[in-house]
Symmetry: C2
Subunit: 198 residues, 2 copies
Amino acid sequence: MSGITFWFDFASTYSYLSAMRIDAEASARGITVEWQPFLLGPIFQAQGWETSPFNLHAAKGRYMWRDMDREVARLGLPPVKRPDPFPQNSLLAARVALVGNTAGWGADFSRAVFAAEFAEGRQISDPAVLGGILEGFGLDPPTVLAHAQDPEVKLELRRAGERAAALGVFGAPSFTCADGDLFWGNDRLEAAMKNAVT
Amino acid sequence: MSGITFWFDFASTYSYLSAMRIDAEASARGITVEWQPFLLGPIFQAQGWETSPFNLHAAKGRYMWRDMDREVARLGLPPVKRPDPFPQNSLLAARVALVGNTAGWGADFSRAVFAAEFAEGRQISDPAVLGGILEGFGLDPPTVLAHAQDPEVKLELRRAGERAAALGVFGAPSFTCADGDLFWGNDRLEAAMKNAVT
């Protein structure tokens, strides 16, 4: 079975668009998806950016939100509710998602985090918000949140960022195929999948 | 009849992709296209960039060329031959295109410039290269090239850049509709056209 790796940062608007549709698109093509959270921060910092390029460049930022409004309408998602601050700190959510990947609820949790952030405008850096999501899946929030701070989980997230950089990832969402080919952006999701099955 | 304005810089790789297909896509939808050359340089400089972001960020630049290779294959265009240096200086070509817009050969000339640059890797800042293209259209290169340096043509190009910035344009290609709505990137050509007819 062909596979694709979905590189996402919970703070990333276009990662949200991919998260809400990638599993359906993949299963329609018989492709498996590896949900791989990582942090864009260190990659942006290596480019000399201290925050999102959408904040650094006002016109680009204004356009991005307008484009997001149009894209969610096109994709049948709820209207965007912008989280404040943007970008959100995605560190804790990423660590919890890694715990979830091992336990089998990573993709469901990740979709729920993205929806809370961009359809409800909630604070995904708040342990209570993440705890509420975990509770909804019948999990014990204190146990999971404590596990997410284990040294090996922290290391796993750091290693994911290093692997991303080594693969040439410079933004999110990105998609990599078994042949190492890289695709960037929600607009390239279909192309990445087409590449994965050939 | 609905119309769309196509904002392009001759130095821009993704503007090339749009240039080679926009008239066919527009005429299939009964849309008119205004070909509007402008210079990205001043807009990038206002963002603090002295050259193309594809040069400033190595991973992004490597990816862009890989993506271009895939996109020309998908669109049925010849393999990319990268011009050196990249980006090319697009000033003279933009001024000649404005002369051509008034005279009625602007779109044909612009397509030929893009093809020379990205399918043949030629120097579009070279008056001899542009002259060869003009000659192919039965025009007199010295006359046209002299006209392109008229003060009113220079002013027209500067004004186009100011209008672009006022419309929120921050990259190329961009598309604007009568309602002022902005679309950025070859990937949004279809969305812009759909917006133009509604």
